[in-house]
Amino acid sequence: MAPDLLEFPDQRRKIIPKVFDSASIDSEDFNCVIVVESGGGSPDLEFNLSANERWEFDDSIVESNLDAPDKGFPTLEDSISSNELLGYDDGALEIKPYGQGMVILPSTIDNYIWEDNLRFYAISRKLQEAISDFYEDYLYGPDGQQLPDRKGRFDASYIEAEKMLKDLPHRTPIPELVVEPNGEIGLEWRKGKKGFLISLQGEGLATYAGYLGESNQFYGVRGLEKSLNKFVLGLIKEVN
């Protein structure tokens, strides 16, 4: 049986303060400096990005430069370009997922990017890709007409999935995001042959299924009550 609760570290950390040359934000000479620091006030590492330069990041950035208590949980793997980091006078930060429209993140404090904001960026990007695929694969019938039942279920499921993703501790491993043919949205965690998925129905219910070894295979239905996140976190721990 899965444990009731998994304690993912939930301490917010600011990992990427930013320094912009605000005078040249919209020009091709735009430069920014990405600074990784542990919160002590002095930077541990700096990355200088010139215009159109892309920065690859993953959790090793955090783990190798900070005293990460949860070493071994890869949660971030993506890249961002200097042109996608745009600064504004009011300190707000905006990140544009590469090739996927625009996601506006909450304002950062003191020009810092919080780690969970960066995580949210990675999730948003995956979700946008899954939605795009759903629209292309399943949303339209053979006659080219949109299928209203699927769209309605997708819209309702999206609200539930977004809430669940926001409510999970920010160090929770990022799931694969799946839009099923009927519009329901699934979150899938997998490592090797072990896997767990939870699918939001858009009706206040979630179906789940897990394969955690020959002696631990299960499926079922739960309401979207508060205890659901504890249940989900316990199973993610089992997968990892």
Binding site: Y138, P181, L205, A209, Y211, Q217, F218, Y219
Partner: protein, 174 residues
């Protein structure tokens, strides 16, 4: 307990209309070999995890690849011992019939799937395979719970899909 109860019958087979006939044989298969491979052709972007950095990398398959849609069956092909180029040609022909482009395939062994044993069973039917003749036999894995039924049936259907994708491994790109 083996969840698969083979249904022994002569299959009609799938005839590709553009000059390729894949199913000329009338030989029937009386029994499934536990090591036999079933290939599921992937034709939807929603069915695999993308790798934007390396398009040649074999990627994980999502459980949607094994969700029946619509209905309660999924289509597979028996491809044990078949040259991979021929499997690719077959996949392209299948994708064409679906008016889609072939992305790749996921291979399952019957043995792996037969180890599927949920602790509880909602549906009163066991999964089965309806087989056609070898080679390139088109078959269906059938008796998935119906998505239109209760949420418990939906959960069981997703469990089957999750188990299948767990044993299938990586996407084999066309």
């Amino acid at each position: 307990m083996n969840i698969f109860r083979p249904i022994y019958e002569y299959g009609v087979g799938l005839i590709i209309k553009d000059g390729i006939e894949f199913f000329r044989t009338k030989k029937s298969i009386k029994r499934f070999n536990s090591k036999e491979i079933l290939s599921r052709f992937i034709t939807h972007k929603s069915e695999y995890v993308k790798d934007s950095q390396n398009s040649e990398r074999y990627l994980d398959i999502k459980y949607t690849a094994f969700l029946p849609h619509p209905g309660t069956e999924i289509s597979v092909f028996r491809t044990s011992g078949v040259n991979s180029n021929l499997i690719g040609e077959l996949g392209k022909a299948v994708a064409k019939l679906r008016s889609r482009k072939l992305i790749g395939r996921a291979d399952l062994k019957i043995k792996d799937i037969s180890e599927l044993r949920p602790e509880q069973t909602t549906s009163d039917k066991q999964l089965g395979i309806k087989a056609g003749p070898l080679p390139f036999s088109h078959s269906n894995i059938l008796n998935f719970p119906d998505l239109n039924d209760t949420p418990q049936y939906k959960a069981q259907q997703k469990f089957y899909a999750l188990k299948m994708v767990s044993v299938a491994g990586k996407l084999i790109i066309a």
